[in-house]
Symmetry: none
């Protein structure tokens, strides 16, 4: 692996997670910690990231607000949100999961568009309430502290009584072979119920999360109808997903 690739990987990680540990980098790159240290030092000299004891952070890490995200990722998410909104049409009844990408979608829905949206995400609900023509129905249940997301039997139960047009799932980990995966067992129960409740399933994913796998599986790729990324649909990174009967935008 070239030095350049390594440094790009390091930068990507920093942009994605806002902070990295030298040890983790050393392990995932299969190089000594010294090499990583030197790379980070170099990147820090070029002001590409900020070096701290034991790792590195993105600039503005301290002022970083959860709801703002960083510019690098943010632009990708906005691109995804724009494409996603184009899938919506007046009067539809849809389901939206949580995650920052879905929040962007909510922000980007036209002010005059009438929709009915069910969601188990506090943040998404909050955004949707800014739109006067959108009827927002919260799928109540036990809330997860970190994700601000309702899970549990109540949510799944409510979902089992629905049959909606569209289900928009954000922030999952995606892999052509293993399908859609998550790291939280309770969340996948809800997402599975969401998929069951909808005629059509749309997955939003920034390209960083393609080809990454987590512990628990939400569904196969075959259950997905549309995959939205920030990439051009012709991009080679998406080749692995072409064998499935899904729309790439």
């Amino acid at each position: 692996m070239l030095k350049e690739e390594r440094q790009k990987f390091i930068l990507d990680q920093v942009h994605l997670h806002h902070r990295v540990l030298l040890n983790d980098l050393s392990e995932s790159l299969n190089v000594s910690i010294d090499t990583v240290r030197r790379d980070v030092k170099e990147l820090a000299k070029d002001r590409k990231l900020k070096k701290v004891h034991g790792g590195a952070t993105s600039f503005g890490f301290m002022n970083f607000r959860k709801d703002e995200g960083n510019v690098y990722l943010q632009s990708k998410k906005i691109a995804i949100a724009e494409k996603t909104v184009s899938l919506l049409s007046e009067g539809q009844v849809i389901l939206m999961s949580g995650g920052t990408t879905n929040m962007e979608v909510a922000k980007m829905i036209p002010k005059k568009m009438a929709l009915t949206v069910f969601t188990p995400s506090l943040h998404v609900a909050m955004e949707l309430l800014e739109l006067p023509e959108v009827e927002v129905i919260f799928l109540g249940g036990k809330l997860l502290h970190d994700a601000k997301f309702a899970v549990g039997g109540t949510v799944v139960n409510s979902l089992s009584q629905l049959r909606v047009d569209l289900c928009i799932l954000g922030t999952g980990y995606l892999d052509a072979e293993f399908g859609l995966t998550e790291f939280d067992w309770e969340v996948i129960q809800v997402k599975q119920a969401m998929i069951r409740a909808a005629k059509k399933t749309v997955i939003l994913s920034v390209s960083d999360k393609l080809h990454s796998v987590q512990k628990y599986k939400t569904c196969d790729m075959s259950a997905v109808d549309v995959l939205v990324t920030e990439l051009d649909p012709a991009n080679e990174l998406l080749d692995a997903f072409r064998p499935f009967h899904l729309q790439l935008i």
Copy 2:
């Protein structure tokens, strides 16, 4: 965990709660109190927060939240919230309605107190999720755009399956003769269901709202067990409520 992450966490807490205790930080971060002390000292040197004996505060703690309207009213609400929190005890299951006063209550609940709280208010749920020991269950339903409050049959139905220790109702209009009133029909359905679901009903009201009446009636004063105002319980403004079997604090 990186030092930067710790310091960011501390700053976030300070911004959120306007004051933190070193002990709480030490516990939630799983580091010694000395480390927290050093971090706070460092942040204080950078003028990111203000260090005080036993903890830290945000700058301008005294005049905080001028942007959220009336400081005068705010201080009353904080006084009410303090009294209300004293009614709570470990392990209780409670209901909380919406409103800014209830948000203050949520902010003032001790970090270590374990509670289970049901609420139909997005804002209150949001605040409660900052408390690690509080289990938050959102009562899902159609959300009102302005109040960010869930109403409708789903909410009432969920409530009919509950029997909790305490119900805390904020922002109502109160009159000794006409009882508790509201201006929104859907909201009173929910509040009535909340009262029915609880063994004990607590009403929070700033004194400005005493002796004012709105269109729809939630309940009689006789249904109220505790009335919390910012006033001294002996204040003559409360005389009208003394004939009822309720606790004034």
